[in-house]
Amino acid sequence: MIDTGGERTAISIEKPFSWREFFFQWEWMLVGVLFLVIIVNTLISPYFLSVNTFVRTPATFLDKGFIVLPMMFVMILGRIDISVGSTVALSAVIMAVMYNLGVPMPIAMAICILVGAAGGAINGLLQIKFKELSFVIVTLSTMIIYRGIAYIILGDQASGGFPEWYSLLGWGSVLGIPVISVFFAIAVVVFGLLLHKTTYGRATFGMGHNLASARHSGVNTDRVVFWVFLLNGLMAGVAALFLASRTGSVRPNVAVGYELEVIAMVALGGVSTNGGIGRVGGPVLAVFIIGFLSYGMGLANLQAPIVLVVIGLLLILSVLAHRIRFNKTTNKSRPGSVAVKADKNQMEVET
């Protein structure tokens, strides 16, 4: 995934390969930051630098990675979904309650993913049926509602007692590699192909750049919005599976604040919050950066609140860095900015 050079030549048909541009890529910066994080972690704790750390630690944070991938699509569309944390909680709660009502675990797991997908589909439907509403208000209200339903179902209780084999999903490993990492790798490949090699992915980029022109070019924009949000919810359901497997029991307040971490990872990964720009490698690297960063701060005995501060700052800083990277500010409301934006797009569609 680090070697994005290959992808690049595949997409940029017209532009000749240039070493200069090859090295001035966001992803290289991320690789540098990742190394920096690892070095700092090593300085903090002598136990950090071991093969075991690099194999085992990702299992503690990869559940968020599953949401980062579809969130990348959402943000390339130029939208944001802040209901994912609540979706994770709702699907996990429903799965646990179903299981304890006597539904077989495999079916309960399928229900978990379906609930997530339904939650995402509702977000998508509301946006295509009520185009006047911004994505902010739609996902904000479903964020309240989904969490609210989780509370209605479970109150302040916990539900769990899952079968023995279910915990393997979060804790088990295949040939020394954690199961969750294997699944994550598969998901990265699938989403990478979906984003960079299919018309669906191209349509997503196109809509992020210019919704109207994408529609006029024959893209079924409603369908793309619907599927992007459905996928986002579906992957939140998948994340819920792994999260519940790791924690062993579920409460309605699980995954509070996931939306921040996920959005921060995507933004740090070089996806523009204005839409239209992004590559799969960046967010994947960012998952590991933020993951190892939080892990390292844990090693240094820093409390969770400081981790919050750092992630919040990272989100803001990476968005700011974007502004500087793409040359000053893109002020959409300024007259004449249309030309500037079109100009910029031509530059960036290929990169």
């Binding site: 509403l133 208000i137 309240i144 609140p305 502004r323």
Partner: protein, 329 residues
């Protein structure tokens, strides 16, 4: 003509909300006669006062097509810092405490405003980031400890429990803020400009309005009100904790939306806002009175918000369609 018609639709909306409030009150009263007693109404208004204060700031932010998710965190931070100050120096005047919180809030608001106005960061991103930074800082300054009632001076707690002219201070403060806000947004040039940049940013900028400065101002006001609310919150509940007011921003936004403030900018009136907050106050006051489990509250509130938003859209579509039809003839 069109303006008058839009105004009429708005009045109709407020009337509808008012009728709804009356209906709910009557229904609750039938179930539990303790609802419409003087003491309960007083406590209802006292509990709603902080929400109402915050809603004013949020309305301004929403009018400029922004959103502020950091409100809850700002309340917690300013409340915590003020409470710590009070715990160290019990002799300082309550007004100084109020000022301290407000100034801190304005500072936080200005940071957000700069991010949004100067660096064009999406409001939702900027405030989501700041929400976590500020929330984290709250835990850091307090060291994870609470400031409890016994550490606060009586004068400080009297901010929220005392009375002025026979009315609870919180209600008084809210009333004063509403009067000032009414004057500000209806009768000053800056106030009208805020509406202008919300309803049509391009036109406003071409007309030479200082868009960035106005946006900075709006977020600073929101921050200031949140800071003030933080002090009031701590004084009222006589405790400051790291997780104070977590998720409160959602209620504030919800109250605004119920009150007819449009999330797409440019629309919002104080009269509607007041009805929206009272409606929300009644919801959270009445639900426990009629034995609805507290775990239902969030779900019900969310559903009410979504319903309000969708009704807004449908009503607007309908009026627009009617207007077009009239023009065709």
């Amino acid at each position: 003509m069109a303006i008058r018609r839009a105004g009429r639709a708005e009045t109709l909306r407020e009337l509808g909300l008012f009728v709804f409030i009356v209906l709910i009150s009557v229904a609750v009263q039938v179930r539990n006669p303790a609802f419409l007693t003087l003491s309960n109404i007083n406590s209802l208004l006292t509990n709603t006062a902080i929400l109402a204060i915050l809603a004013v700031g949020m309305m301004l932010v929403l009018i400029t097509r922004g959103i502020d998710l950091s409100v809850g965190a700002t309340i917690a931070f300013t409340g915590m810092v003020t409470a710590l100050t009070i715990a160290r120096m019990p002799q300082i005047h309550p007004l100084v405490a109020l000022l301290e919180g407000t100034v801190l809030g304005v500072a936080i608001g200005m940071i957000i405003g700069l991010l949004v106005a100067r660096f064009d960061v999406l409001p939702i991103i900027a405030t989501l980031g700041m929400m976590n930074v500020v929330r984290g800082l709250t835990y850091v300054v307090s060291g994870g400890q609470w400031v409890s009632s016994y550490q606060m001076s009586t004068e400080f707690k009297a901010i929220a429990t005392g009375r002025t002219l026979g009315v609870n201070n919180l209600i008084m403060i809210a009333v004063v803020i509403y009067i000032v806000a009414w004057f500000f947004i209806n009768h000053t040039r800056t106030g009208r400009r805020i509406y202008a940049i919300g309803s049509n940013p391009e036109a406003a900028e071409i007309s030479g309005l200082p868009k960035r400065r106005l946006i900075l101002l709006v977020y600073s006001i929101m921050g200031g009100l949140a800071g003030l609310a933080g002090v009031l919150w701590v004084a009222k509940f006589a405790s400051a904790q790291g997780n104070t007011a977590i998720g409160y921003e959602l209620q504030v936004i919800a109250a605004c939306i119920l009150g007819g403030v449009s999330i797409t900018g440019g629309v919002g009136k104080l009269s509607g806002l007041l009805l929206g907050t009272i409606m929300f106050g009644i919801l959270s006051n009445a639900l426990p009175l009629i034995n609805v489990s507290p775990f239902w509250q969030q779900g019900i509130q969310g559903a009410v918000v979504l319903a309000a938003v969708l009704t807004n859209v449908l009503v607007k579509r309908n009026t627009e369609r009617n207007a077009l039809r009239r023009r065709a003839i």
